[in-house]
Symmetry: C2
Subunit: 261 residues, 2 copies
């Protein structure tokens, strides 16, 4: 079944009914997908401030009202507890289970944070003829912990996590220009070239995701990554945090083209 041309609302309906349970990559072409972090209200201010201070790694697309499962800015009739194909439930920083529906875990003091995702800029890169290695190799994008400090906010602090895509020089320049126009989905690269300059000792061993081939003449190009906020939240070991499972995103009604500055 090809979901690439299906409207986001229909894809979310199939997810809610349990007919789609896998990763959302390639679904509803042209529409933005979003990362999810659900936190209890008592951590919400610090996290909102963390996102405000670190817009490169944590570009907020929408923040739900306390206890509210809908997200009217991102889409029609969204129920954030049922419209993502797979969720991760963390207790005190440990993954305790993954599940397709978290409606019975929802609490009145929960707040949903939806964060922009690099799927949006990858579509723009592919449209411009820039090749994306992890898509070619049908694996997850490689992600690395860096020594680039995030701005602290309340209980939240830590370093930036980056994603890496190897590119030849002309594509690097093209990609910098294209992603630079999309600050709500991480924007321009934060670094390219020597991985050690940002504290990455072993490019062959990503901290998250999969290793990809770097061919002769290609330069590793690093973008701020939406795994940063998740990484920073887990350090605080909150009683309960719920996120999307990697690759299993919220498919929104927002067009990628609307996420340009």
């Amino acid at each position: 079944m090809d979901y690439s041309m299906m409207a986001p609302e229909k894809v979310r309906k199939l997810i809610r009914e349990g007919d789609i349970t896998g990763p959302t990559a390639g679904m509803s072409n042209g529409f933005a997908q979003a990362n999810l972090v659900i936190l209890p209200e008592k951590l919400a201010y610090d996290f909102l401030l963390f996102c405000q201070r670190n817009p490169r790694s944590c570009p907020l697309l929408e923040v739900g009202n306390r206890g509210d499962k809908t997200l009217p800015f991102l889409g029609k009739d969204i129920d954030i507890t049922r419209d993502i194909p797979r969720y991760c439930v963390y207790e005190k920083g440990n993954l305790v289970e993954t599940r397709q529906d978290i409606s019975d875990l929802w609490k009145e003091d929960f707040v949903s944070f939806l964060i922009g995702c690099s799927f949006s800029f990858e579509t723009a890169l592919l449209d411009a003829g820039v090749p994306i290695r992890h898509i070619e190799e049908k694996c997850n994008v490689p992600m690395y912990k860096t020594n680039i400090p995030c701005a602290e906010a309340g209980v939240f602090k830590g370093n930036m996590v980056v994603s890496m895509r190897p590119l030849k020089m002309p594509d690097l320049i093209k990609a910098t220009r294209i992603t630079g126009e999309m600050p709500r989905v991480h924007g321009a690269p934060i670094h390219f070239g020597d991985p050690l300059a940002i504290g990455i000792e072993e490019i062959e061993q990503p901290d998250f995701g999969d290793k990809v081939t770097i061919k002769d003449g290609e330069i590793p190009v690093f973008w701020p990554c939406g795994v940063t906020p998740q990484n920073v939240v887990m350090k605080v070991k909150p009683e309960m945090v719920i996120t999307h499972a990697p690759g299993h995103m919220l498919v929104t009604d927002i067009k990628n083209s609307a996420l340009k500055y």
Copy 2:
């Protein structure tokens, strides 16, 4: 005395020492100036969320830590209680006094919100040869209440306030392009032409600021305005709110050119 070429840090020192007490327009050319709203912690989450949901009218440049008078992102050694030439103190939504120093009013639960200001884009417009009427007529920019609803957040709701600059068509197009590249200082216009279309009944009678001349062949051009958050906050009638006095801004170390997307 001409402060246009003086470094922001020196201007702030003269303000702190009481040697500058007037409006900051034209000081430290090329550096961003910021609007101030100080709120008690219990309103801070709702206000931060209001700004996140309404970035056109409330583009946040920095949010201070609870009880912290410094603003390290915006400038060196800032004391937000002494580095603005004039403050307005509101109690339950009523202006009770204006003063040059609020250090004795500061409380441990106060949070400072610094919001981008159209002075930054006006510099860019003047540099591009776009005339600005209220500068020519040496008065304040005219501002109007509209019927454009802001996204609500907790206790905060209300309509957008806009500023107006009359421009001829070629300058309107130039100004749209130039300000559109500066989303952190309100970005592109929100409307131009018929004032009634956004609920402005009498263009000759601004709700804030001064009336300016609209010449034959000029079109009124409307931008989201930083008075919006102040207007929305006052409706809630908080125990105490402190803002900058109109035109008496925080002069920051951030270059206007750094506020492009």
